[in-house]
């Protein structure tokens, strides 16, 4: 094909013990929006890093616009017309928008010219930005605009986007898609990586699917169902969580107007939060990161105590109780950030199991840890939740993200919670592991426990929740039945587009 913008021929990259990319070949045409799909660890990141010059392939050839292309660093990639928007923003908080943009350019013009060009380009693509603001003060959506504008100022031929929508509200996603379609119409090709298959169906014209480092399929996402694409990624049929919805039982957890300052600097304070959860019910709490999710979890788990009369578990006033006392009653929590918050990465799985299971599993005898029983408890979590690990004495940090996540959620579920609070239960976990975790949450609800699921993944919340509420700047919206909620309604509950307007597109 002579009309290809970028061609990959047999690109291979191996790390010690693992082949990240094996003989990958693909073609991207000018102006095409091309999706790159795959589970975690399928090799998507390594492949785009090779295209962006951060990784040098062991074998294989790349051709850009008919010429051999082998960038040895990102400067060379940018000079050749390849730009990239990173999954974890590559921004500098203490610097201004203009300084951040200048750092991503090969030959930035003087600052005054640059500021004018930032305004001009950002207005043209409907992404208004003030070049002199400090990036640390911007919202997630605005920060992403900085990254995109930084790329656009260099007139890229190919724009790589790694999971760009994971931190955006539905309205912000709509604005982003408008921008991308406009770019594509102007001839810029876009290589788009995402786990959100419905988004890919709405946006992309072709897709390459990777599994274990190999290309296993290509398809037209507009004509392929999300389920079919997911099964191509997994390489088998995908289990969709299901349960019989029972009538909810008695109220088991109640918060009555809790306001609390965040224990962290730059955290979000909770403002007059009210909620009720019944036995057998899953309450989904959505919201863009940093709107009080971590604080709400801390208030429920007991990491952050509250005055009397605000938080009730059945008839107990649990507000002033710490985590151990709440655990003893049956109020359990699995926080976000498995490495560091939910688990101690440097300690073994047995030790991590003992850390939260001590009270309810009786893992102590006269004040001393009973290692035998702790090991047994860890082993039962590993067995029940299919955690892939060499054994109970492996360090938690050595497990892959999905496996460790299964372990930290399973550890709480096996302690027979009356109420389980989870934050980001499937963050960064691949489709099959995520389905297993969601099924486990539904199972305990069916057994009569109440589940509070805090997540940024709206599809996930719609799949498991009975009722849905949104956190926005520390305020919790009144919960609504999840069945029948539309994307627009959810977007409005999440606080709309955070001062983003689609006007100038």
């Amino acid at each position: 094909m002579s009309d290809a913008l970028l061609r990959l021929d047999g690109v291979t990259k191996a790390y010690p013990g693992v082949v990240a990319n094996a003989d990958v070949s693909m073609t991207i045409r000018p102006g095409e929006i091309h999706a790159l799909l795959g589970e975690n660890g399928a090799g998507k990141s390594t492949l785009v890093k090779a295209i962006y010059g951060l990784v040098t392939p062991d074998r294989g050839r790349m051709t850009l616009m008919g010429r051999p292309y082998a960038p040895h660093d990102p400067h060379a990639a940018r000079a050749a017309g390849v730009a990239m928007v990173f999954q974890h923003f590559s921004l500098f908080d203490a610097l201004t928008v203009a300084e951040n943009v200048a750092l991503g350019m090969e030959d930035p013009p003087p600052f005054r010219t640059l500021a004018a060009r930032i305004r001009e380009v950002s207005e043209t693509y409907g992404l208004p930005l003030d070049p002199f603001r400090t990036v640390g003060d911007l919202s997630a959506g605005e920060r992403q605009r900085v990254e995109i504008v930084r790329c656009l100022l260099q007139d890229p031929k190919l724009l790589i986007m790694d999971e760009p929508t994971s931190v955006l509200t539905p309205q912000e996603v709509a604005i982003l898609f408008e921008t991308l379609r406009k770019l594509s119409a102007e001839g810029t090709a876009i290589l788009y990586i995402s786990h959100k298959l419905e988004e890919i169906r709405a946006l992309c014209e072709s897709a390459t699917i990777l599994r274990l480092g190999r290309v296993v399929a290509t398809c037209d996402p507009r004509e392929t169902s999300a389920r079919a694409m997911a099964e191509m990624m997994v390489g088998g049929s995908l289990h969709v969580p299901a349960r019989d919805r029972a009538e909810p039982g008695a109220v088991v957890l109640r918060i009555e107007g809790l306001s609390a300052a965040s224990p962290r600097a730059f955290g979000t304070s909770l403002k007059d939060v009210r909620l009720e959860v019944r036995r057998g019910e899953v309450l989904g709490i959505g919201g863009v990161a940093g709107n009080g999710q971590d604080e709400l979890l801390a208030a429920l788990s007991g990491e952050m105590t509250a005055p009397r009369g605000l938080i009730f578990f059945e008839d107990h006033d649990v507000g002033p109780m710490g985590p151990d006392a709440r655990r003893a009653l049956g109020l359990l929590a699995a926080p976000e950030e498995r490495n560091g918050h939910a688990a101690a990465p440097g300690m073994s799985l047995t030790e991590n199991a003992a850390l939260t299971g001590r009270v309810r599993e009786g893992l102590t005898r006269r004040g001393f840890l009973d290692w035998g029983r702790a090991r047994g408890f860890a082993a039962s979590v590993i067995e029940t939740f299919d955690v892939r690990t060499p054994g109970t004495e492996t360090a938690a940090g050595a497990l892959s993200g999905g496996n460790l996540q299964k372990f930290v959620i399973g550890r709480e579920i096996l302690q027979r919670p009356e109420v389980l609070v989870v934050n980001q239960p499937t963050w960064g976990v691949d489709a099959s592991a995520a389905a297993a975790i969601r099924q486990a949450l539904l199972d305990i609800a069916e057994r009569g426990a109440a589940v509070v699921a805090i997540s940024q993944d709206l599809d996930e919340l719609m799949e498991i929740s009975d009722r849905f509420a949104a956190l926005n700047e520390g305020r919790l919206s009144p919960p609504r039945p999840a069945a029948g909620l539309t994307v627009e309604e959810i977007g409005l509950m999440l606080g709309g587009a955070h001062d983003m307007d689609v006007a100038h597109v």
Binding site: G53, D73, R78, D93, L95, A102
Partner: protein, 300 residues
Amino acid sequence: MIDPALLIASLMVASTPILLAAIGELVVERSGVLNLGVEGMMITGAICGIAAALWAETPWAGFLAAAVGGALLSLLFALLTQVLMSNQVATGLALTLFGLGLSALIGQSYSQIRAPSLQRIDLGALTDLPVVGRLLFGQDPMVYISLLIVAGTWAFLRFSRAGLILRAVGENHDAAHALGYNVRLVRTCAIAFGGACAGLGGAYLSLVRVPQWTDGMTAGAGWIALAIVVFASWRPWRLLLGAYLFGGVTVLQLNLQAGGFAIPVQYLSMSPYIVTILVLVVMNAGRAPGSLGRTFHASH
């Protein structure tokens, strides 16, 4: 009584060693590296300076050798922390101990010898102006050079592309790496600059301020320089203020001691530390560079 003009003139001399060491450390910390070895690099500079000045019979050779010596010692720190990924705090402390020992070893044959010192500049009529003449036009050249280094550092960090890259590396080394900047190279250059400045500061002690060699003559000046960087919120002009304030109160309290005022000597001796800390704290501490002190591993 105390003559204000003379007091200010002597505080500038008293502050210059700390100012030089601190401006170097400021650049190092803005690049995201915490080098606690300032004291060791200063005293290495002091002995290199006096040795070279005596050998070449000019103080300028001393300052040059001090800058080179300080930079070489700091490159040892760069090798350990940037290439071998050792812990910055432990390595910095070790560097101080190493510098103190090394300088004592070299200094054995230099004790009690007076070095050729710098002359104060004399611009004739200008220098003879009342009050300001001595202040503005009658210092030794290193005082002016130290002020030029502060101004140059400020302009470099604020206006130049290289300065922007250095700040970016200090703020978020992972992002800087992802954009294709060489984090280790930037940091190694910053560390070498910091070492050279600390060396100059040490040489100013042994060639101008004292001016002769005694064991352990920096007497904690490197630690003060480190503290001033933090309290100055990593900003060059505040750092100048902090250093001169510290030097000023030091000179003032020495004058008060000599003048026999009825204030216990302990209070006078602690006053420079207390006043400097109070003033800089009241001025509202700023935010540290985001990657300060964290080890950078280039991941795949």
